[in-house]
């Protein structure tokens, strides 16, 4: 069994129009910038994929990564908890112009819905959002005298994930708070594609320290020294770079 992929272009080749794509990361930490940019490259070359439904905690920052994906016009709908950032202009303009749909989900509910999708739990109850606008239209049930909102699982066709170490079986570790939504999205997507800083031999990762077991992963591509969204934005980077 060898889940390693030769390059980024191969890694994103299976993503087609209209798919639901989970993208890991919380802001820039744990965001698979190179996978996102490879997807933009494919769109610029072929016109596909487009009309994507993207699941991420945020809505991008600046003009790289998720913001660049939105700016390229590839995203029809965003499911997220916090579409604000230091420089959210790309999403904000499209959203206010009605060019992109938004499903706003409380952050803990978003995480739990994704986990539920991966764990075969079609629905669960949470106190979060009870009595608020975000609970409108959702079933409410009382347990032990307290009211809870029924929330549904969230699954995806593809997850694009950033990890730290990975082996050919798909076992993964993460870097610090770069973990965030990544392990959950691995569980919830039919196809999980992961960029890792280094591919190591099976057994190099302590079995106790595996965060995502390989069963949740379909493809692993090595991206040494991955870019950080924060660094790119401080350098005012734009993707793709304007032609000279």
């Amino acid at each position: 069994m060898d889940k390693t992929l030769p390059d980024l272009a191969t890694a994103v080749a299976g993503i087609t129009d209209g798919m639901t794509v989970m993208i890991g990361g919380f802001g820039g930490s744990g965001a698979p910038i190179e996978l996102i940019h490879a997807l933009i490259d494919r769109f610029l070359a072929t016109g596909h994929p487009k009309n994507l439904v993207v699941v991420n905690n945020n809505a991008g920052n600046g003009h790289v990564g998720l913001a660049a994906l939105i700016e390229a016009g590839m995203v029809a709908k965003l499911i997220c908890s916090f579409p604000r950032s230091a420089d959210p202009v790309v999403f904000t303009e499209r959203y206010l112009a009605g060019h992109i749909a938004l499903e706003l989900v409380p952050q803990g509910t978003l995480a739990e819905r994704i986990r539920a999708g991966g764990a075969g739990i079609p629905a669960f109850y949470t106190p979060t959002s009870f009595g608020t606008d975000l609970a409108k239209g959702k079933p409410v049930e009382v347990f032990e005298g307290r009211s809870y909102v029924q929330e549904r699982w969230l699954k995806a066709d593809v997850a694009l994930v950033k990890a730290h170490l990975g082996d050919r079986l798909g076992n993964l570790t993460y870097r610090m708070a770069g973990r965030n939504f990544n392990p959950l999205m691995c569980m919830a997507a039919a196809t999980t594609i992961v960029q890792v800083s280094r591919i190591v031999d099976p057994g190099s990762i302590d079995p106790e320290a595996v965060i995502t077991p390989g069963i949740f992963v379909q493809g692993v591509v090595e991206v040494p020294n991955p870019q950080q969204e924060e660094d790119l934005n401080r350098a005012k980077a734009v993707y793709p770079e304007a032609a000279e």
């Binding site: 069994m1 986990r115 999708g117 991966g118 764990a119 075969g120 739990i121 082996d167 079986l169 076992n171 569980m187 031999d201 099976p202 057994g203 079995p207 106790e208 595996v210 077991p213 390989g214 069963i215 949740f216």
Partner: protein, 223 residues
């Protein structure tokens, strides 16, 4: 009935259908033997409910570490690529549809795919373990079972008489006489021992055996 397959032979036959790289959970008992018969060049990855993926064979006697056991409480080993996780993550793998194959034992299997394998009725101490979870989620839920009971009664039936483990969950049966798929609420005979005719088999089966093209010989080495 003398020519029927042994449990070991049933396990061998089941093993032939497991693809390279498949994620597989083997139930306690007969199904555990499937791991021994992986065809050359193929390597399945075995999951055990109690939190190990990609474990290895049993250790030598005396070399057991009793923190490193499978769901049957037997000692196993790690190998390169093993991962440990807790029970909620383990059953996320099961329930969430991430396993390719689950192979279980059976008291009865119905043509509807219903399975009864956890309780022989209200007497004694009931115990279910992970069986009710395992029948949901895996792409193939297969059963290894004698074709008939010790008394010669069919175990493959129209409707289960014993308490159910799951409804409409079994997709394939490796019996001591045949390989049978469950398709749209029917038993479909795929392979049978050459010594048995279709009507012989039908007489030992509690529901109609349907044919869908040729029935292959169920050809298993002596072992």
């Amino acid at each position: 009935m003398t020519q029927k397959l042994t449990p070991t032979q049933m396990a061998w036959r089941a093993a032939q259908d497991i693809a390279d790289g498949a994620y597989v959970n083997l139930g306690i008992g007969f199904p555990e033997m499937v791991a021994k018969f992986q065809p050359p060049g193929r390597e399945a990855i075995f999951h055990t409910e109690n939190g190990i993926l990609g474990f290895g064979e049993a250790p030598a006697a005396g070399a057991e570490d009793w923190d490193l056991i499978n769901a049957g409480k037997k000692a196993v080993t790690i190998k390169p690529g093993t991962a440990f996780f807790h029970h909620a993550d383990s059953f996320a793998m099961v329930r969430g549809g991430h396993l390719d194959v689950a192979i279980l034992g059976a008291y009865e299997v119905a043509e509807t795919g219903d399975l009864a394998n956890w309780s022989t009725g209200p007497r004694g101490v009931p115990a279910v373990g992970g069986a009710m979870d395992l029948v949901h989620g895996a792409k193939t839920v297969a059963v290894i079972t004698d074709h008939v009971t010790k008394d010669g009664k069919p175990k493959l039936v129209q409707r289960c008489s014993l308490p159910l483990t799951g409804v409409g969950c079994v997709t394939r049966i490796y019996s001591s006489l045949a390989v049978i798929d469950i398709v749209d609420g029917h038993f479909v005979l795929r392979e049978k021992l050459a010594a048995f005719s279709v009507s012989d088999l039908q007489a030992l089966t509690g529901a109609t055996l349907h044919l869908d093209g040729a029935v292959a010989d169920l050809d298993v080495p002596a072992l």
